[in-house]
């Protein structure tokens, strides 16, 4: 086990930020920590890093208890924190060099690593810029480079792609996969379910400090009853028609927010076909019509009764 967290409890005064949280991460995984704002992702990370005191529980990293003095463990951890942590007086290059130098003593090796990190986040043309002159997204990319330059065995990224544009985001996500395939274990925290779905080999969904589901994305989606979501655009549908629609086999719910009819069906065959046939038979005028497979948002919605993103 690279990381093993058991029964972690963390309180801020009366607020229980982590409520008996347990999980373990195996070597080579990209472990996604998915949860809405305030669900306790950052708190969990900070506990693992031995920055935060916690009330109860055990944390092991690389098979050893993690303490603030576990320097040999810290040596192998790369961290990209949610809040950008770089020196405003140092340039892009100097910042990466500084953080890398805290881990890597050999000068030539350090230089090579710094160049690779700059390449990784594609900041080559900004290498002599100070952080104040970087845009929000560029700054995030610098933050990532500072965290991963020393090629750690365990990489922890806490919402690293906030404010990063789609192309760069894709590049970063692909980069993380590459780091992973070169042997790094990754903990990836986000409230973007698409990102988590795209790269994570295993996902833990947390809400209010509790783990509500853990598994691969297929496993998670299999946990819920929702099989398919069909959306029909129509301005002309009566209450009676909606009621009859609900009677169809496998249909779990039908909601109408003009002009969209959202039909959720449980797992089963021919759901879309049945709906199409019904619309034809009832002679309902419609515009677009499309069907989606469940997302992690639907998983979250079904378990907690609320949307992952508001």
């Amino acid at each position: 086990m690279v990381v093993k967290v058991s029964n972690l409890v963390k309180r801020y005064g009366d607020l229980i930020a982590l409520d008996h949280l347990s999980f373990s991460i195996k070597e080579g995984e990209i472990f996604g920590l998915l949860g809405p704002n305030g669900s306790g992702k950052t708190t969990a990370i900070n506990c693992i890093l031995a920055l935060l005191k916690y009330d109860k529980g055990e944390i092991e990293v690389f098979g050893e208890p993690m303490t603030p003095e576990s320097y040999h463990i810290k040596q192998d951890i790369g961290i990209v924190m949610q809040n950008v942590a770089v020196y405003n007086e140092l340039t892009v290059y100097e910042n990466i060099d500084y953080f890398c130098g805290l881990y890597i003593k050999d000068k030539a090796l350090k230089k090579k690593y710094v160049e690779e990190a700059i390449e990784f986040v594609d900041l080559g043309e900004y290498r002599n810029f100070r952080p104040k002159k970087l845009s929000g997204g560029l700054l995030r990319r610098l933050n990532i480079a500072c965290g991963i330059a020393h090629k750690p065995k365990l990489i922890i990224l806490d919402e690293p792609t906030v404010a990063v544009d789609p192309q760069s985001r894709n590049r970063i996500l692909e980069g993380i996969k590459e780091l992973n395939s070169n042997g790094a274990t990754v903990i990836y925290t986000s409230h973007y379910m698409e990102e988590v779905e795209q790269i994570c080999s295993r996902i833990m969904i947390i809400d209010k400090g509790k783990a509500i589901a853990t598994g691969t994305k297929e496993e998670l989606k299999a946990m819920i009853s929702l099989g398919e979501k069909i959306t029909v655009e129509s301005y002309d549908v009566s209450e009676q028609q909606l009621a009859r629609l609900r009677e169809l086999p496998n249909i779990v719910s039908v909601e109408y927010n003009e002009p969209l009819i959202v039909i959720k069906s449980s797992k089963g065959k021919n759901n879309l076909e049945n709906v199409l046939e019904f619309i034809k038979k009832e002679n309902i005028q419609f515009g677009k019509i499309y069907s989606e497979l469940p997302t992690l948002n639907d998983v979250f919605l079904e378990i907690t009764g609320k949307e992952l993103r508001d």
């Binding site: 031995a50 920055l51 935060l52 924190m81 950008v84 942590a85 140092l90 100097e94 805290l102």
Partner: protein, 379 residues
């Protein structure tokens, strides 16, 4: 690791405009300002007699004791006053025409009329105050032993030495130099800006950057000390430049004990840096408030040490506020410089440096207690 952190810290701090302003540009500018506005005062104070008038009324004529005192002070080559006898109206006119700095109306206590306040006026005033004090003190003795008259006159005449005393340590007599001492002391204390940054950047609950350093495989106190060394080096260099500027550009003589002056500056710089670290570690408020505290404490300290008004420190002593005297680093520092300049004997210097060292050790210890925390309850 030390070199890596130290070198990067040097780079960071040298590029930190705000800190460089307060610790470097501000004291230099203030030194220049002091020089321009005070240098005339210093010269006048030491070598020029003061034009005064006294109202020649019956009180003056009858009060032989006062009259003799004033005449004594206006006699000889190294006299304090150029004294004119005048009627009340004449005196007023002389004052309005700028022929005299002020005029005295004899009485108990004697009154001083001036149009403006300045160093000359202060000297007349302190002469009169001295007279009143001495007079009161010996009045009763006099009743019993009239022979003491002559001694008292002599002593009053000697009061000239409050402006013309010759320092035993061999420096030239000059109050101006004391203003520069308070300035150097203040600049030492502005080292606190560096200390504040150091302590801030190592406490994970204050900045994300500090949290980041706490996660790196570096011993926290080693990281703190490495970067504090960089801060001390920069601040000491700044202080050396300030000393050189005052000594060689402004031509202010610090007296013969250059080595001790440097030593005192080094200790002062360490005090300043750790004062800032202490404030940052102990005060759990925003950075703005901390900066406010640093500037506020240093300014009030400088003021109490006599930066704006030399006699301030004596007022504090005479009002029995030794606490304010001995806990004010600016005062201890400037008084240490003063001792080096004026006194042959270094006892008082040693006392000052002793107190200063105690304060510094206290700052260090408290800073250590607060920043050594391994984990935080909240970030």
């Amino acid at each position: 690791m030390f070199v890596h952190i130290f070198a990067n810290r040097l780079r960071c701090l040298l590029r930190d405009r705000e800190t460089m302003f307060w610790t470097f540009m501000f004291p230099l500018a203030l030194a220049l300002f002091f020089y321009m506005s005070l240098s005339n005062v210093g010269k006048g104070e030491a070598f020029q007699e003061i034009d005064v008038a006294v109202v020649n009324d019956s009180w003056y004529q009858e009060n032989q004791f006062f009259r003799t005192a004033l005449e004594e002070a206006s006699r000889g080559d190294d006299r304090l006053f150029n004294l004119t006898l005048a009627t009340g109206e004449e005196a007023r006119k002389l004052l309005d025409d700028g022929k005299i700095k002020g005029y005295i109306i004899a009485g108990d206590p004697p009154q001083l009329i001036v149009n403006e306040s300045g160093i000359y006026q202060s000297i007349i005033k302190s002469f009169l105050d001295n007279y009143t004090q001495t007079f009161r003190a010996v009045e009763k003795v006099l009743e019993n032993d009239p022979r003491i008259y002559q001694e008292v006159f002599d002593s009053l005449g000697n009061r000239k030495n409050y402006v013309k005393e010759a320092p035993a340590a061999g420096g030239k007599p000059d109050n101006l130099v004391y203003y520069f001492y308070t300035l150097i002391a203040m600049a030492c204390m502005y080292g606190s800006f560096f200390g504040m940054r150091e302590a801030t950047d190592i406490q994970a609950d204050i900045t994300p950057l500090a949290a980041r350093i706490n996660i790196a495989p570096v011993h926290k106190l080693k990281a703190f000390l490495s970067s504090t060394c960089a801060a001390l080096l920069i601040h000491l260099s700044e202080m050396m430049i300030l000393l050189a500027f005052i000594r060689y550009v402004l031509n202010i003589d610090f007296g013969p004990r250059a080595g001790y002056v440097l030593l005192t500056t080094v200790i002062g710089s360490i005090t300043g840096v750790f004062f800032g670290a202490f404030v940052s570690a102990v005060v759990k408020k925003s950075e703005g408030i901390k900066v406010g505290i640093l500037i506020g404490v240093t300014m009030i300290g400088s003021c109490l040490a006599g930066m704006m008004y030399i006699d301030m420190k004596y007022i504090i002593l005479s009002k029995n506020l030794p606490f304010l005297y001995w806990t004010n680093p600016v005062n201890l520092l400037s008084d240490a410089f003063y001792c080096l300049y004026y006194f042959d004997n270094l006892n008082r210097y040693a006392l000052n440096i002793g107190a200063l060292s105690c304060i510094t050790v206290l700052f260090c210890a408290l800073t250590y207690l607060f920043i050594r925390r391994r984990k935080y309850a909240s970030l």
